[in-house]
Symmetry: C2
């Protein structure tokens, strides 16, 4: 959890939490309860962190407005978690029963809509450029969801296509948060571009580590079972690596991926094949690569504690085990 670490914006993060609590208040107590269940379960708050640190790193103007946007980004993220769990049938999230299981599909679905709306009620108060950025993040999320499902079990998927999916699913929200934080903070054009590149590469690294953890993570620390990607037929980078290791075992993995109904035993065997293929190690190299690019982007920023914190955030993201 990032909350264990000090990135120097603890006070700002607690303002974000307060803004979120305020946003999810509703005369329908159930909406507030479900929203709080999802949001207050923790989560790493990486999106708000990126926006806040980017803001601080370029001078920290408009802190209050950056807090607003950081809250909006976390609300959007939470909305997608609610809807994603419905979509992929995930039963556990952050160590607790998935909201749609606990509160019912309809209530979880509507709460997701409610969170999207609350995010936009915040985001809609900003300049057109920022409205567009926020909307494009959400559009990209929806497109990535469709694209990922369309390519489920697609053994022909290329690395470039995979990267495009995770760019839209994970990297764009982080990049947009960094960009907006930097714009509001009063950054120069060069700083704004640097932080956009930082967020993009951080997001790519983040998602690749997510993919890794779904293969070798500890369900206890993760708060959810592993093997979800394989079960869904998601063509993660690890699967792509394992399918391209030139060995006989890739044929067995192909057969598992082609199986429409994957039993727990089949998933276990698939995970073992992926692990034994060396895909985890190759994916780590990839995550490190994007982490390196993220840190490299920071060279265009003035030195200081927030630039250092952004660099530490890369390490945290790449090395995390949950």
């Amino acid at each position: 959890m990032t909350s264990d670490l000090d990135f120097g914006v603890g006070k700002e993060l607690s303002l974000v939490e307060e803004r979120i609590r305020q946003a999810i208040r509703s005369q329908e107590a159930l909406l507030t309860d479900i929203a709080a269940y999802v949001i207050q379960a923790g989560g790493k708050r990486v999106r708000p962190l990126v926006a806040l640190l980017a803001n601080r790193a370029v001078g920290g103007r408009n802190l209050e407005r950056t807090v607003q946007i950081a809250a909006a980004l976390e609300l959007i993220h939470s909305a997608t978690l609610l809807h994603d769990d419905i979509n992929d049938g995930g039963e556990v999230r952050r160590g607790r029963e998935a909201a749609y299981k606990k509160f019912g599909l309809q209530n979880a679905l509507v709460t997701g809509d409610f969170l999207f709306v609350k995010a936009f009620a915040i985001g809609g108060k900003f300049e057109p450029e920022i409205v567009d950025l926020t909307a494009s993040v959400c559009t990209a999320l929806a497109e990535a969801e469709i694209s990922q499902k369309r390519n489920a079990g697609n053994l022909e998927l290329t690395r470039e296509q995979y990267l495009e999916v995770i760019r839209r699913k994970t990297a764009m929200p982080m990049s947009a948060g960094a960009r907006i934080g930097a714009i509001l903070g009063g950054g120069t054009e060069r700083e704004v571009e640097a932080l956009s590149a930082y967020g993009l590469n951080l997001g790519l690294a983040f998602q690749i580590v997510d993919d890794i953890l779904d293969v070798i993570g500890d369900p206890g620390s993760l708060g959810k079972p592993v093997g979800t990607d394989l079960k869904e037929g998601n063509m993660t980078l690890l699967v792509l690596h394992a399918l391209n290791d030139g060995s006989d075992s890739r044929l067995r993995l192909q057969a598992i991926l082609r199986e429409p109904r994957k039993t727990p035993d089949l998933i276990d065997r698939g995970l073992a094949l992926v692990r034994d293929s060396g895909a985890v190690e190759r994916a780590r190299v990839d995550a490190d690569h994007y982490g390196f690019l993220a840190r490299e982007a920071l060279d265009d920023l003035r030195p200081g504690p927030y630039r250092d914190a952004l660099a530490r955030l890369v390490d945290f993201v790449v090395r995390r085990n949950a």
Copy 2:
């Protein structure tokens, strides 16, 4: 269908259609296809009509921006249709297979999110007052959905509580559309308030007629089966009337409403009880009452063809059979 009628804003409505087509374009063809499937199936376009007519009735400034908002309101409406069908298990919508049945739950859910986002990308470009109005419509929709479900089968529901649900579900979107159309059109404060009241009462009448049609409508014209409300345990105005007619048959209706799993036969018997109770006629009186209030609100507008068209729209809404 309103498209058969001439309210004098046919050209403006086609601009709305064009704006919607533009909004739903996506690099993921499936998103565009599902969105078009829902939106282009027709629909009465009452929300855009109200906004456009309100704009024209007060002078018609900012037509282009009113077209944008009218498109956003229809996108929001379509998003809720997509999600509502998932929620209530409706299998047919506008005479066609419900989108989630045809395209799968996940794809329909994500497309709903996509439409919300596209609506907000439009709405977010407006003044804070209009952003707030648009967001409050969506919040109210989510709250109404929760409230309606919370009160399913609640035999103690009062008429006031029912009206509060339909105010949020149907009347607020129309009222907000009328209000925004009037603000953008350059209306005086008095005109803006008059048109808000018009939209609110039109929306209440609209929903009561919807409730009536779910009891006595022709499935062929409606493009969906009747009895959905009863199946869901929705406490519509007709059910409230039927439960308060002082007859023995209300006890039989109570028993049906308490039944957790309602067979088609049980629903048919429930519908017959509602019809025989005189609830339809009493609900018609209610719908006429709100229609009257809507027309009365128009007294504060300058006379002219658009005021007349707004009055004709009330007649259309109250008398429609689909």
